[in-house]
């Protein structure tokens, strides 16, 4: 892909990244950080591609290490964010969505 196309992707993603989080409420700072952290775990895709291409034992081992680290980042990130938000729901009254499990 040519450089200008990639630059376009980059600039548009920067603008969207700035825009989507600019109105976050203070109580959600940590879950948002954790969720964003889980999203960059998608480097797992890169780790899979690189490891799937190698024929050399040394790079295979480093590639598999990258796969493990990236999986920990992605899976752990989403699970811990979910747990954070689970507690959050119980604590803050205005967060209660449609379902109220406590009442039923």
């Amino acid at each position: 892909m040519d450089g200008i196309t990639l630059l376009t992707f980059f600039v548009l993603a920067v603008v969207i990244g700035f825009e989507v989080v600019s109105k976050v409420s203070t109580t959600l700072h940590t879950p948002l950080m954790s969720g964003a952290n889980a999203i960059h775990g998608v480097i797992l895709v890169g780790a899979i591609v690189v490891t799937g291409r190698t024929t050399n034992v040394f790079t295979l081992i480093l590639g598999l290490l990258a796969v493990i680290l990236a999986t920990v980042n992605m899976v752990g990130g989403f699970v811990v964010t979910d747990r954070m938000l689970e507690m959050f729901k119980g604590r803050a009254p205005k967060t209660a969505p449609a379902k109220k499990r406590e009442d039923s």
Partner: protein, 285 residues
């Protein structure tokens, strides 16, 4: 397996990127946060599945095993962690992500040729950036983990001339990165240079976080999170993978804004958090 055409792969990557945008947007409001996180997770799972079906991969059993190992490590850890220990766990997850990005870019640059001339130079620069910043994010995150877990003092750690040692290590890392770019751009093998760069960057990350005091550590975690996002974007450039580029940039940009918001909520400026501990030792003119 080569079941998906490049166009189909690109379209599914676009869907995953939109999932990530919806996830970040959802996480910004209390009512939608949990659903947002699940949408992000769904996007990530789809992206990983597509990676298996869009190229002819070898070593697939090993890769699946590695993913299983990572999942078996991550899920119980994330499930069992105490509420108070969550920030440092996020720091640790962020750090391993940075380490993974550094490994991916380093392997990609040493493993396959990237054209010649300007294209090779830009790819080499993006790769050197990923190795440097990804490793800083890794070692910095480990130090923030140790601070929050109280494995070490939470007070700012400074020593005489600390800022000069930090400055020197940073200069050394940048010099190594530049030489890796020059060697890479001329078609040479820069694997060894990138390895040394990673080692020096480990020291840079440690020296970067040591002077930060306990209460400011979450803001530094957020900053390192934004760093990791940018390294993922740069490795997306090296691999010509638009999803990594877009997802990494989203996290880098939103992480930067979030870092500023967190600092503002505490009434602190980012420079005073990062370099405040150096001030008493500097000479008053």
């Amino acid at each position: 397996m080569n079941l998906l055409s490049p166009a189909a792969t690109a379209l599914i990557y676009l869907v995953a990127a939109i999932c990530f945008i919806i996830a970040l947007k959802g996480l910004s409001a209390p009512g939608t946060a949990r659903r947002g996180n699940l949408i992000g997770a769904a996007g990530a799972v789809v992206a990983v599945l597509v990676a298996f079906f869009s190229a002819n991969l070898s070593n697939v059993p090993w890769i699946v095993l590695a993913i299983a190992v990572g999942t078996l490590v991550a899920v119980p850890t994330a499930r069992r962690v105490a509420m108070t220990a969550m920030p440092q766990l996020v720091a640790l997850f962020n750090g391993v992500g940075g380490g993974a990005a550094a490994l991916v870019a380093g392997l990609e640059l040493t493993d396959s040729a990237h054209g010649s001339g300007a294209i090779a130079a830009i790819a080499a620069a993006a790769g050197a950036f990923t190795v440097l910043v990804g490793t800083v994010s890794f070692s910095g995150s480990v130090v923030t983990y140790a601070k929050l877990q109280e494995l070490m003092t939470t007070r700012p750690v400074t020593f005489p001339g600390g800022q000069y040692v930090f400055g020197a290590s940073l200069v050394a890392a940048v010099a190594l990165a530049v030489s890796a770019v020059v060697v890479g751009a001329n078609g040479g093998s820069n694997g060894l240079l990138l390895g040394v760069l990673a080692l020096v960057s480990l020291a840079v990350g440690i020296l970067f976080v040591l002077p930060v005091g306990g209460a400011d550590v979450p803001i530094v975690i957020s900053l390192l999170n934004a760093f990791t996002g940018l390294t993922v974007a740069a490795s997306g450039y090296v691999l010509s993978n638009t999803l990594l580029l877009v997802a990494g940039t989203l996290v880098g940009a939103s992480g930067t804004i979030l870092t500023r918001l967190m600092a503002a909520a505490m009434g602190r400026s980012i420079t005073s958090i990062l370099f405040g501990a150096f001030k008493p030792s500097t000479m008053v003119a």
